[in-house]
Amino acid sequence: MKILVPVKRVIDYNVKVRVKADGSGVDLANVKMSMNPFDEIAVEEAIRLKEKGVAEEVIAVSIGVKQAQETLRTALAMGADRAILVVAAEDVATDIEPLAVAKILAKVAEAEGAKLVIAGKQAIDNDMNATGQMLAALLGWPQATFASELAIEGDKAKVTREVDGGLQTIEVKLPAIVTADLRLNEPRYASLPNIMKAKKKPLEEKTAADYGVDVTPRLTVVKTTEPSVRKAGVKVGSVDELIAKLKDEAGVL
């Protein structure tokens, strides 16, 4: 079977995010960009399924700006077989909404005949946590979100999900969408030879218009602000002092 893995180019998770003073957004000029960490986990899981002989081909897809080529090359260096870049924006500050992304991915999944889509559970920039579920809806496929374990058993996927009360295991009929949570696996680092090889793997370039999808946002960003800052309090010298402060000053004990 073919597995489709959507990957997003986002600000590197180690970079301290700075809100622009004029409230127009977050400063993305000259900051390091990387693959969304949850998407790395998704790529890793797809590659492992291929290594186990469960999948024949892993296709990485990115929707966004031209620079997302680099993100796709990373997926190829990890072990994806080929990549599709759907250019849907020119300005790196433009974030394509999950609804439009899901519409494009649905067309790609249909065109490729994918039987499984493994996506990251959310992107660490807009924190929407939506694309996988939206894609499942548009394709009429079942969804297994927040996965910490995945096994393909015949025409079903058995997925353990991280839910509020603990873990839930469900079975979904294939074709299906799985979204990766943190503990699904530990993604590999691409080796230098594989990075070199990835440069020769096929990377097809498309546009949103090729799929007939309108990417006009439904949500207008009115403003982006710094969160309220919490001030540091005091250091106490002993447990007795701490308990006294909590009882008398804070009134929480």
């Binding site: 894609l135 079942p142 299906a176 503990r183 949500l219 009115v222 969160p227 929480v252």
Partner: protein, 309 residues
């Protein structure tokens, strides 16, 4: 204007996140209808009817709703969607699972994890792990929303609103439930506890987490953990506090051996009072703590538990 909320529950008890969603919905304006779907969940529907601000409860029984599977629940909510401008979900894993699926079926954008209602079409939500707050205005005819519980107060009680019963569409049969592995505990639920005691990498091992748990039990508190502690196998995943875990805002949050990574702070920085105990006085957690105690948690925490006795 009217708001529909899908109640979160376990068929026996109404989850407190539902009440928080009611509070948020009240700010959007209009009648608030709670949809309670599950198996043998009559008691939940009765509890839901008493949440202050609820106009009506719709109670739907069905085995396919017992385990919160996304596909039947989404189809159910969609069947009622026509009458409402706002369709709201508590920001639980269940709400976050269903809301985007519904939004896509309605061809609207989901508005995830709102922390504030500015106007019926305008909402605040955290982005970049809480490092920025975005105000967004929706141009969609319907707003599909998940609500971050920690940002809204629980509503009061009221005389019970009327309960109607209804039936849902046929189960699409795309998925099935296998099993739940939940922690059975007498401790309060992490997301709604008044006091939370959390341990981080500094706790050192799964066995040592007993020290954290002992203090929590003394205080009648829930136990939490940092992502580092969970990733190291010291604590189960559902204890994780942080941007990718649970977001909590208790009256008192006690952080033990937690350095204070930004993604952890995103999950607890709205707590009323924060206490940090850490041997590293440069740990970033002290920048947000109201009371900091520098020292060895293995002596200080048992001492604190004993002195609270």
């Amino acid at each position: 204007m009217a708001v529909l909320i899908l109640a979160k529950h376990d068929n026996a008890h109404l989850n407190e996140a539902t009440g928080k969603a009611v509070t948020a919905a009240t700010a959007m304006g209009g009648d608030v209808t709670l949809l309670v779907a599950g198996e043998n969940c009559g008691a939940v529907a009765e509890a839901a009817a008493k949440l202050g601000g609820v106009t009506k409860v719709i109670h739907v029984e069905g085995a396919e709703y017992a385990h919160r599977l996304a596909e039947p629940l989404t189809d159910l909510v969609k069947a009622f969607a026509e009458d409402y401008e706002h369709i709201v979900f508590p920001g639980t894993t269940s709400g976050r699972n269903v809301a985007p699926r519904l939004a896509a079926l309605l061809d609207v954008m989901v508005i995830s994890e709102i922390t504030g209602v500015v106007a019926p079409d305008t909402f605040e939500r955290p982005i970049y792990a809480g490092n920025a707050i975005q105000t967004v205005k929706s141009s969609d005819p319907k707003k599909v929303i998940t609500v971050r519980g920690a940002s809204f107060a629980a509503p009061g009680e009221q005389a019970p609103a009327p309960i109607e019963t209804a039936t849902g569409p046929a189960d699409p049969g795309l998925s099935s439930w296998v099993e739940d592995k939940t922690q059975v505990s007498d401790r309060p639920e992490l997301a709604s506890a008044k006091i939370v005691v959390s341990g981080g990498r500094g706790v050192g091992s799964e066995e040592n987490f007993a020290i954290v748990a002992a203090l929590a039990d003394k205080l009648g508190a829930a136990v939490g953990a940092s992502r580092a502690a969970v990733d190291s196998g010291y604590a189960p995943n559902d204890w994780q506090v942080g941007q990718t875990g649970k977001v909590v805002a208790p009256d008192l949050y006690i952080a033990l051996g937690i350095s204070g990574a930004i993604q952890h702070l995103a999950g607890m920085k709205d707590s009323k009072v924060i206490v940090a105990i850490n041997k590293d006085e440069e740990a970033p957690i002290f920048q947000v703590a109201d009371y900091g105690l520098v020292g060895d948690l293995f002596t200080l925490v048992p001492e604190m538990a004993e002195k609270l006795g």
